[in-house]
């Protein structure tokens, strides 16, 4: 009974090695004087023409700027004040992400700063090999939980049955 299902799962696993996980990933870089946001789906397809809505630190209610990502899935912005800027990336097709980016005070006044900072940690762009390892890990966890759950329930059932007799 389980062999056909196992076959289907294995086939899907093998297929997934060629596929990639899907989701909206962002990579934020502070490259003075601009903030650069690069977007892509997990399978490395750029999120083209997604709307990017920017809110300034002083006012999170009023839209500061509206724009769209370019054909490489990128968007660049020039902040004019330090603080927490909010960026909402939305592909209008069910994938959206809210980013809070801290712009340091010296970023506005200096021409050069190291790219990225701790507060704006980019999403991991994983390789296919890593994705395979992740998939195997996830499957191992699911099967492990299933085995534990099965063992516990079988034990409980075995303990209950003699009492009923």
């Amino acid at each position: 009974m389980k062999i056909p299902i196992l076959f289907v799962v294995m086939a899907l696993t093998l297929y997934s090695m060629e596929a990639g996980a899907h989701g909206l990933l962002t990579d934020v870089r502070l490259q003075a004087p601009s903030v650069v946001i690069r977007t892509q789906f997990s399978e490395a397809q750029p999120v083209i023409d997604a709307t990017v809505t920017v809110f300034a630190p002083a006012s999170t209610e009023v839209v500061w700027q509206s724009a769209r990502t370019d054909r490489t899935g990128s968007f660049a912005f020039l902040p004019d004040a330090a603080g927490e800027w909010i960026f909402i990336v939305d592909d209008q097709k069910g994938h959206a992400k809210k980013l809070t980016i801290t712009v340091p005070a010296d970023f506005i006044s200096t021409a050069e700063l190291p790219t990225g900072n701790a507060a704006n940690k980019p999403d991991e762009m994983v390789s296919r090999r890593e994705r395979v390892y992740q998939t195997i890990t996830g499957l191992a966890l699911i099967f492990g939980i299933t085995a534990i759950f099965y063992g516990v329930r079988s034990r409980q059932t075995a303990l209950v049955k003699p009492d009923q007799k």
Binding site: P4, F41, S42
Partner: protein, 204 residues
């Protein structure tokens, strides 16, 4: 279809997580040992299926198999969907952790409707499988669209629904194929078939 953190307001997410835990308890309690391997295998299939994506109309859609989960597991599908989504979120960053409850309820609703459709004995088996496969995607998509709309996102809702309708058609075809396969090799694997009389014509 997996909503990321930061889209839905935190109080709503917390409420959804509490509700999801309650539903897990109600739908998962008293599971028989015989059901558990089936739950595990379906959970593994759900976990992997989200990696199979199709680039479509400038976006990326993926399989869900929620309709098939509803057919195979019935009410037991919710804890399985929750677990699969938890690991997708933790391992692939696919969907948020805070929005786990919202996502689980969205997709669990698809599986629930699929179970309801599958239980309509008057309809032919294959039609039920097709409709269940469609509902498994359409219902979560409708719920997600509503949530996006209420949160002020996703102005292109018509396009989004059109895309998910295509995804639902693909999913319905896969669900039908899977059900046909199960009917041929092991009919009792799909929930509720033990009680029904399926003619040889339907199975063949």
């Amino acid at each position: 279809m997996h909503i990321s953190d930061g889209i839905i307001s935190t109080p709503v997410c917390i409420a959804a997580n509490v509700a999801a835990i309650g539903i897990i308890y109600l739908s998962g309690r008293n599971a028989k040992p015989d059901e558990i391997p089936k739950m595990g295998m379906t959970g593994a299939a759900l976990f992997v299926s989200s990696l199979i994506h199709f680039p479509l109309a400038g976006t990326s859609i993926h399989l869900g198999l929620f309709g098939l989960a509803g057919i195979i597991l019935g009410k037991r599908s919710f804890p399985v969907i929750f677990t699969a989504l938890l690991f997708q979120s933790l391992i692939f960053q696919h969907g948020g952790l805070l929005t786990l409850g919202v996502n689980a309820i969205n997709m669990g609703a698809g599986a629930f409707v699929a179970t309801m459709i599958w239980s309509i004995a008057k309809l032919p088996v294959y039609l039920r499988a097709l409709l269940a496969g469609l509902a498994g995607i359409i219902i979560p998509a409708l719920m997600m669209v509503t949530e996006f709309r209420l949160s002020g996102y996703g102005t292109g809702i018509g396009l989004l629904l059109a895309i998910y309708l295509l995804a639902a058609i693909i999913e319905a075809a896969i669900t039908l194929s899977a059900v046909k396969f199960f009917l041929r090799v092991k009919p009792e694997i799909v929930k509720g078939l033990e009680e029904e009389e399926i003619s040889k014509d339907q199975i063949a």
